[in-house]
């Protein structure tokens, strides 16, 4: 299996963003190790997207998490909360040590995102297929109230099998909700296997375009491509769906397997081995020679 999809880039702040992604992955894997298992596959595939959003794109202030005019994020694939918690801790919404309470009784960091428990979580998710409607509601609410800021919704490609998403896309296109940017973490796998084996999507980009949306496709592990696409989306006249082609488990050596990697045991040893490999790859792909 191809494991090196991060391309060498020397423009904008690719190194800093890739470094953020590496930190997010390490924090996430260590938090999963603290409870012994977790949703590693989808958390790894979405890490580069989160790094770009939170370090380069979103207008947010960890000290003012309730500011209505902030950019909102809806992690519709709510089972990847652990990746988002790692991102929020990296950004300073709460202390990194808090990540080690993941999924333990009484924690503020439950498996699936909960806006009532976690500072920085804008919308609770976990029942797949509901996040996009919520995101559309927040975005449309911003329009109705004349409050600025954008809404970013991250959906899994497997999640797109839920029909409610297509209700939401019809609404978003018809109402031209263009302060909402939808991002698909297109890792082409779902819990039980490959989407093309379980329910073939037959090309997502065409579907979105047929629904009246602007659809772009990028390498979801290339922070520069993600960044450029999201910056372009900011000025689009129609709502944008960004299909980020990713690999489930990407960046975590023991999860980069063709077998089941949706939810895996994570030991401290595995986590440290993965962390060392993440650092090595960062240096290899974005090292001094490149900078």
């Amino acid at each position: 299996m191809k494991t090196e999809t991060v391309k060498k880039r020397c423009d904008f702040n690719a190194y800093e963003t890739a470094k953020a992604a590496a930190e997010i992955r390490k924090l996430c894997i260590r938090s999963l190790a603290s409870i012994g298992s977790g949703h590693i596959g989808g958390s790894m595939s979405v890490s580069d997207i989160l790094a770009v959003l939170y370090t380069d794109i979103m207008h947010i202030d960890p000290k003012r998490p309730d500011d209505e005019s902030r950019d909102w994020l809806v992690m519709s694939k709510g089972h990847c909360g652990s990746a988002l918690y790692a991102t929020l801790a990296y950004k300073g919404y709460f202390k990194k040590e808090e990540l080690l309470t993941l999924n333990k009784g009484g924690t503020k960091l439950p498996s699936h995102c909960d806006r009532l428990k976690t500072v920085g979580i804008d919308i609770s998710t976990g029942s797949l297929g509901q996040g996009l409607s919520l995101a559309a509601g927040v975005a449309y609410g911003k329009i109705l109230r004349g409050i600025g800021g954008r809404v970013y919704a991250i959906l899994g490609d497997g999640e797109l099998q839920e029909g409610q998403n297509w209700e939401a896309f019809q609404f978003i296109a018809h109402r031209n909700v263009n302060n909402l940017i939808t991002i698909i973490d297109n890792n082409r796998r779902q819990l039980d296997g490959y989407t093309e084996d379980i329910c073939n999507p037959f090309g997502l980009k065409n579907k979105f375009e047929a629904f009246g949306l602007i659809a772009e496709e990028v390498d979801g592990h290339d922070v520069t491509e993600i960044y450029n696409a999201l910056k372009t989306a900011e000025n689009a006249q129609k709502p944008v769906v960004l299909v980020c082609n990713t690999e489930k488990g990407h960046g975590c050596n023991f999860a980069e397997i063709r077998g089941f990697n949706h939810y895996m045991p994570v030991t401290e040893e595995l986590a440290e081995s993965a962390a060392a490999e993440i650092d090595r790859r960062l240096e290899e792909n974005y090292g001094r020679s490149c900078r």
Partner: protein
Amino acid sequence: MGVLADKFVTDAVEMRQAYCAALMKEAAENAKITVVDADVSHSVGTGPFYEKFPDRSINCGIMEAHAVGLCAGMSAMGLVPFFHAFGVFATRRVFDQIFISCAYQNLNVKIIGADPGVTAATNGGTHMPFEDLGLMRLIPNATIVEPADSSMYNFAVKFMADNYGLFYLRTSRRKTVKIYGDGARFEIGRANKLADGDDVCIFACGIMVYEALKARELLAKKGVFASVYDMHTIKPVDSAAVIYEAKKCGAIVTAENHNVIGGLGSAVCEVVSENYPVPVERVGVEESFGEVGSQEYLQSRFGLTAEKIAERALKSIERKLKRK
């Protein structure tokens, strides 16, 4: 105590007209109130709202699941959305959306389910909710209201607009019998006592309130005196009233335009069995799906009548006397 109308006659206005007028009054004072429909705005009577507040009226089309999620997201941005659909589509079809997108994350969404139970009449079984109260009662912190007439409806609309949280209100959209006169007072969570008696107590909601008042007359002719309550709030149910009447009358009947499982009858039984066990008879739909017919025919078909309430009241009293 509720102030009853001098004479029980059919209301001059339809429930949907009363609703839209009440909501427009609130919306004039609160710019955050919004209307969300799923292609039944014509049926549920929100048309005038669309004309007066076009920017705050959203007809999603036939997509109830998305509409509920949209409401939840809008409320997260500080708006106060009122969502309307026929009762079956406002609850059963979108149960997880209400549960997770709205209630689980403590958002401020108001859901109006039109045509509860037999009031769906000729729309028949697919459109006839006998289970919506049961479903909604299972949602933590949901408030559930079934107004008996337009006076109570007016109050409920203002209350929902002014108070944070998930509300479900079920009501006929057509004209109903006017139960209350001017000066009637309402309190969410507190039943309105409409008549006093010592032999048996009837707790009713919605269209069954009028049937309960008629049942009281039938019973009085037999020398049996019944208390009658309009239990307009199904959740939180008025436990104090139930316990008071259980102690005073020792026999209870519930009457609802709903399955006897899960709704008002269940709620009253839960209070009675945990606090002061006395015989309870539940009048409602028993193990049936809906079907077409006039409301009058369907009330008779499913036993949602004054005669049935009176019959079950006597049975409840008989059970009480056997215990002694």
